[in-house]
């Protein structure tokens, strides 16, 4: 008897996946993190500058430019033909979130590095501010587009989570920027950064929970195997770090730094959890077949079939 009938419910071809697992390596979830940190830090820097928090503004733009600077090398390292990375800027396609994102990243990292450089050497303050504004403009899109990128794939756990992932990635980015700034700025001047770290962590954990609940069976991979381990680390680190920042971190720089580091580690783990869940959901054909089967059970889309005599003989 063939494997296709095992279980008597869902049928598959020897249990093999219908879709391909992504070929992306660990550089990609790291980039999700650095892109989020860089993008949200640019926004934080502009807000701080406008509202008169000079030190926070300066440190944040430095963090942003550092995160923006490591992002392109991470992406290039993941290419099958790294020497052809400039082909990314050969076209601009709104149908490709990766194309849109490449342009956003190129623009954002150029702007943030100019601003951070001028800020650090203390020259051309107007140009520095202009560049800061420019990078803040693209900062939030940079922090969020990666969610759209993975949502626009056939990977069930990503595509079906397309309503929540941008908010998850956005909240994670805000928490990262807040946590990094809370480490980099003295306690007395870090109040906004602390609030961003704590608020971002709370929103992110609520969104993650809500996403899993809505996805139901499709959301299983998030709490299984590697993705599940990363998620446990993420929840523990982000909530623990946020508690440290919100409590002792208000008085002690050390507590704020430890809390900030924990939140940052947790945000990396969040990205890895989402990343690994995608692979796990691609690997098991049931996540691909069952929702499609349910969707098409009434009126099969794309097929005109008959099965004379028996409705479902082999099942």
């Amino acid at each position: 008897m063939s494997v296709t009938d095992v279980g008597g419910e869902m049928r598959s071809y020897y249990g093999r996946p219908v879709i391909k697992e992504p070929v992306w390596k660990k550089e990609i979830p790291w980039y999700f993190f650095t892109g989020g940190l860089g993008g949200a830090s640019s926004v934080l820097s502009l807000a701080a500058r406008v509202l008169g928090h000079e030190l926070l503004a300066q440190r944040s733009i430095q963090i942003a430019s550092a995160a923006d600077a490591v992002s392109p090398p991470l992406l290039i390292a993941d290419l099958g033909r790294p020497e052809r990375f400039l082909n990314m800027l050969r076209v601009f396609k709104v149908t490709s979130p990766m194309s849109v994102g490449s342009w956003i990243l190129a623009y954002s990292s150029a702007a943030s590095s100019v601003s951070a450089f001028l800020n650090t050497i203390g020259r051309l303050p107007r140009v520095a501010d202009l560049a800061r504004t420019a990078s803040a403009f693209s900062g939030a899109p940079l922090a969020v587009y990666t969610a759209t990128l993975i949502s626009d794939t056939a990977i069930p756990v990503w595509h079906e989570a397309r309503q929540e992932l941008p908010f998850l990635f956005g909240a994670s980015a805000v928490a990262s920027a807040g946590a990094a700034a809370a480490i980099a700025v003295p306690v007395a001047e870090a109040a906004p950064a602390r609030r961003l770290a704590v608020g971002g962590v709370l929103v992110e954990n609520v969104v993650f929970k809500a996403m899993e609940r809505r996805l139901g069976m499709l959301g299983e991979p998030y709490s299984k195997a590697e993705a599940g381990k990363y998620k446990k680390v993420a929840v523990g680190c982000t909530l623990g770090g946020a508690a440290l920042i919100a409590g002792p971190g208000r008085g002690s720089r050390l507590a704020a730094a430890v809390g900030g580091a924990l939140v940052l580690a947790g945000e990396v783990a969040v990205r890895f959890s989402v990343f690994k869940a995608g692979f796990q959901s691609a690997r098991d054909p049931k996540y691909t077949v069952e929702p499609q089967r349910a969707r098409s059970s009434g009126q099969p889309a794309g097929r005109s079939r008959t099965r004379p005599g028996s409705a479902d003989a082999s099942v």
Partner: protein, 305 residues
Amino acid sequence: MSELAQPTGTPAAWPDTYGDEAKERMGFFTDTSICIGCKACEVACKEWNLVPEDGLVWTGESYDNTSTLGANSWRHVAFVEQNEPLHAPVEGEEPVDALRWLMSSDVCKHCTHAACLDVCPTGSLFRTEYGTVVVQEDICNGCGYCVPACPFGVLDKRHIPRHSGDPPAEILGLQLGKKEDGRVWKCTLCYDRLKGGHEPACAKACPTDSIQFGPLDELRERAGRRLEKLQGENWNGACLYGNDPADGVGGFGAFFLLLDEPEVYGLPPDPVVTTAQLPQMWRTAAIATGAVVAGVVAGFLGGSR
């Protein structure tokens, strides 16, 4: 608007942008009811397109040791053994203890709305004048986005297996262009042969005409007649897969006549092009972007504690 106009509203690459050079849309109709599982299509494809070896293994899964489509397998013959009669049982007759052997040669579907083409950030994937979807290997930088975007798992990054008895890497490199390829590969519907007025290698080699090549409109008509005939003969489970331009990918350029549910052959029952929902996804992203900005600004409310 042509049939190939994208669901996202962008103009169709075919035939609009080709003008006078546009050709009739060509495709495959794979009639699995007459497939004999000879794998001549797999071999002919490899020979013509210089597709490298993809690992020599015994899977124990009937006669299938290719297992799946990928960078190094552009045709894949599936073998399914079933305890089912070839013809549906007739009422009043004793059910027979039967065995049937399903074989089907899978290939890239050359979708009307192709996710791989939509998401390709370099423009390496393009729509040819025949309405087919092809990777330009001199442009592909191996970003891998098309791999999880394809709802059929057709594309993959090329990896060249090595064995202890292989010639040295330099010689392999000479043969294959490069040591490790790093780009994505898939069926081109023999773009080069089409340009020369020939049918694709797999269709040419198919000894039973299970793989039929031709203008898509003609193939759809022919497939409809074939399905009627099989239904008239009471074939068990005969159905067309991918012939309907109203399906989630706008119809396949390479479609099939199957004898069971698509998932039995490792095919998705109701594939969709995910970029159809991209406008909505961009809107969600825009709202999330606003939320990030609002969140950061809100962090500055409430003094210095």
